[in-house]
Amino acid sequence: MAAKRFPIEAGHIMMFARSVGDDNKVYYDEDYAKTTEARGIIAPPTFPQSSAQFDPDYFLRPKVGQPWFGSGKNPTGIQRASGGGGGGGGGGGGGLHAEQHFEYHRHIRPGDVLTATVKPGKTWEKEGRRSGKLIFSESITEYRDQNGELVITARGVGVRTERPVDQPAASKSEKAEA
């Protein structure tokens, strides 16, 4: 489950930078970017996460002809047994992102074509005050460029919770029935 081919594209970088509220011209203006230390457009630091777009199996993207757990006619497009938290990373007590780490061996730019390889890391458990038992699992993604050079090492930690994370009292009263 990883992007075998992650082409770094200028338009994608521009949209990504906009989405994180970053108007630095080094992410979209080639003429300006050439005058900077980056000597051309580069990707913002968290851009590697968008390799999900190029992962054919990425489970948090609706796929043609397959059920999707978001709402349509009904609040969810997937029937599931009650109490069976999880599902596609959401659901009552599903997976959340706990940690993310990047090491930049060099900064990526349009024209690079990366390959991601994912290795599982550690798994551990913790008792949480606000959401019951927490199960953490780590994965390490290595991004290599078209020359086989390691450019970015990413380490993500996901957490699955027994139930949705409790909210402070103020917002809890608005909470819909699970």
């Binding site: 994608h12 949209m15 990504f16 906009r18 989405s19 994180v20 509220g21 970053d22 630095n24 080094v26 900077t36 230390e37 980056a38 580069i42 913002p44 630091p45 968290t46 996460q49 968008s50 390799s51 999900a52 777009q53 992962d55 990425y58 948090l60 993207r61 609706p62 757990f69 978001g70 709402s71 609040p75 969810t76 596609g88 990373g89 959401g90 659901g91 009552g92 599903g94 959340l96 992102h97 706990a98 940690e99 993310q100 780490h101 990047f102 090491e103 930049y104 900064h107 380490r155 139930r163 949705p164 994370v165 909210q167 917002s171 809890k172 608005e174 909470k175 819909a176 029935e177 699970a178």
Partner: protein, 136 residues
């Protein structure tokens, strides 16, 4: 406009407001750009009725991305060598976030930073570190 090791003091900070009154539309933008279409972030019906949260909430990676702007504005383009975070609390539509980098150490041509992002109530939503190349 890179940082200079000779001018950095351990403990000095750089703070920036990275979002004011976070809009659901920005979360939608992030979903579209990143490819993470988890309905928990954009689908109010699913999130309240099925998942049991009071509202949609931001991707942790959106908070990390917005915090990244504070960092790259501070250390300069193409200077980051490491950036890692833990997501310590959820970020909701309407939140206003401030991100802070604190100089932890200067080692030769590298600066180590502590990174923290807090919401309008002072609750830390992201806690982490970064490392960047600096000039002498």
């Amino acid at each position: 406009m890179a940082l200079k090791a000779s001018q950095l003091t351990v403990g000095e900070t750089h703070t920036a407001r990275i979002v004011e009154d976070l809009k659901r539309t920005q979360i939608v933008q992030y979903a579209g750009a990143s490819g993470d279409y988890n309905p928990l972030h954009t689908d109010e019906v699913f999130t309240t009725k099925v998942a049991g949260y009071p509202s949609v909430f931001a991707h942790g990676m959106l908070t990390m991305g917005m915090t990244g702007k504070m960092l790259t504005d501070y250390v300069g383009d193409a200077r980051l060598t490491k950036y890692g975070v833990r997501f310590t609390s959820q970020v909701w539509p309407g939140d206003t976030l401030e991100a802070t980098a604190t100089v932890k150490a200067v080692n030769g041509d590298l600066v180590e930073l502590d990174v923290s992002t807090r919401n309008q109530d002072g609750v830390e939503v992201l806690s982490g570190y970064a490392e960047a190349r600096v000039d002498p």
